[in-house]
């Protein structure tokens, strides 16, 4: 009999216990009654719609900013702005989420941005996007930065000798080469945005039907004691995330296959 390594013995049961089992627990607890109640609730669908739209824009903003960061990383790594950005990239992740939400509220609420409206930028869908962006940007930045590190810098040098200014070279050589990283950075940010909760409540407003997101909907249902609805909404969330991961994997496989056959 083949000798079994300690990794196989430890990893498999632990993985199933700690990761797979809780997810199955949610899915296993879905009831027909819960599904009917939840899918009948227009607030639920509002939160789904709000979540998908805001997370999409938050991830888009995140990727664009990450690409901006990438530009500085490649062409101006010695500057102060790059060093500050590099340092700050990891900061939002270290902040507790309510603190992040409070920070955004104080910064963009009506005390500083009152000229925009009675609540400044706070308590709007834009606020939701900003809160999601704030917490998920580091993921996009890290993904793209590490891919940028892997790029053969000579290709950029050559592009410049062929007449490309740095912005042109970035657009025509770097961004196409970052390809996969941009996509996975987007998906990571999107997933992180979907699950953001505390910061969004503080800054976004959490008004059902207007600025409430799916994660908060689940939380409210739990606190209200509507466990069956909370479970359904959670299972819905899980399915969404699952689909995202599958999409990412499929693209990865397609990409690899096309690179071989091209």
């Amino acid at each position: 009999m083949r000798k079994v390594s300690i990794w196989e013995v430890l990893f498999v049961p632990l993985f199933f216990l700690l990761i797979v089992y809780p997810i199955l627990a949610i899915i296993g607890n879905v009831t027909i009654e819960g599904m009917i109640k939840t899918f009948d609730d227009p607030i639920f669908w509002d939160s789904v719609k709000n979540t998908l739209i805001t997370a999409f824009f938050a991830a888009l903003l995140g990727v664009l900013m990450a690409l901006g960061f990438g530009y500085f990383y490649i062409f101006h790594p010695g500057t102060i702005i790059y060093k500050i950005a590099d340092f700050m990239n990891d900061l939002p992740i270290a902040l507790p989420h309510t603190v992040a939400g409070l920070a955004l509220l104080l910064a963009f609420g009506r005390n500083m941005f009152g000229f925009i409206g009675p609540t400044g930028l706070a308590f709007t869908l834009i606020a939701v996007v900003l809160a999601m962006f704030f917490v998920s940007y580091p993921l996009a930045a890290r993904t793209i930065a590490s891919a940028a590190e892997e790029i053969d810098k000579e290709q950029i040098s050559v592009a410049r000798t062929l007449g490309d200014t740095p912005p042109k070279a970035y657009r025509r050589v770097v961004i196409p080469l970052l390809g996969e990283a941009i996509f996975s950075g987007f998906v990571l940010s999107f997933s992180r945005s979907i699950s953001e909760f505390a910061a969004v409540i503080m800054f976004g407003g959490n008004v059902p039907g207007m600025t409430q997101v799916l994660a908060s909907y689940v939380f409210t249902k739990v606190e209200e004691g509507e466990v069956s609805m909370a479970v359904t909404a959670s299972a819905f969330c899980i399915l969404l995330s699952l689909m995202l991961v599958i999409v990412l994997r499929l693209r990865g496989r397609l990409h690899a296959r096309s690179a071989e056959s091209a």
């Binding site: 053969d152 040098s157 410049r160 000798t161 062929l162 007449g163 091209a262």
Partner: protein
């Protein structure tokens, strides 16, 4: 004419270039021979404009280009590992400079023919053999209508057997341009196959030599003093 005057460059405490001067005439293929680690890459980066020297100047003709960024220098550069754009086909690679207003379709066809690249134009670079990748990289640099050519060990990835006929081909094509060509290598045999004049890089400076064989001797001497 390509000229570099008295280039100095240090990194931290380590001085790599200690007063490098070079001059290459139009129609000359000057081969710079140097061991790995002697500072060839630093020199190449200063000539292409990626790096600034601490001291010294670079000029093409009578124009001082020391302060110019790479995109304004009109240097055709063929790097060591070809650095062909992986996401573009060979054709798109070679036509790349046209988007910046450099070169023409006519030049493209002429050079493709000279380097026998027609059958491979729609291929992606990673599918080509080392020899054809080198040809494509050279073609791309040539199409950009350069005033000067700089090649840094361009046939590193080519089989030795194929080097024997690729070198004369490159030599012919380069001579036809009648511009200054600086060719960097660590291999004295390669130097003899392609060069019309020779120099050697050692101890942070560059000196003219009469033949590649002299380089052999200097290199052997250096290796011995390094304790090999």
């Amino acid at each position: 004419m390509l000229e570099a005057q008295n280039l100095h460059k240090s990194f931290s405490a380590h001085q790599v270039l200690k007063g490098v001067s070079i001059s290459v005439n139009p129609g000359e293929i000057q081969v710079l021979i140097g061991l790995n680690g002697c500072g060839k890459t630093t020199l190449q980066r200063i000539l292409t404009g990626i790096l600034d020297p601490d001291q010294g100047t670079v000029s093409i003709g009578s124009v001082d280009i020391t302060g110019l960024p790479p995109e304004d220098r009109r240097i055709g550069y063929v790097p060591q590992h070809t650095a062909l754009f992986k996401h573009l086909s060979v054709r798109e690679n070679i036509l790349y400079p046209l988007q910046n207003g450099r070169g023409s379709e006519e030049t493209f066809h002429k050079i493709v023919k000279l380097l026998s690249l027609e059958p491979y134009l729609d291929w992606k670079p990673h599918k080509l053999s080392g020899g054809y990748r080198a040809r494509a990289a050279l073609a791309r640099a040539l199409v950009s209508a350069p005033r000067v050519m700089l090649l840094d060990e361009p046939i590193t990835e080519v089989d030795r057997a194929k080097k024997e006929y690729i070198l004369p081909l490159f030599r012919d094509v380069l001579l036809q341009l009648h511009i200054p060509v600086l060719y960097i290598t660590h291999d004295p045999w390669e130097a003899g196959q392609i060069g019309t004049s020779f120099s050697v890089m050692k101890d942070g400076v560059v000196n003219r030599i009469d033949s590649p064989e002299e380089a052999f001797a200097l290199i052997r001497e250096q290796a011995r003093s390094n304790g090999e």
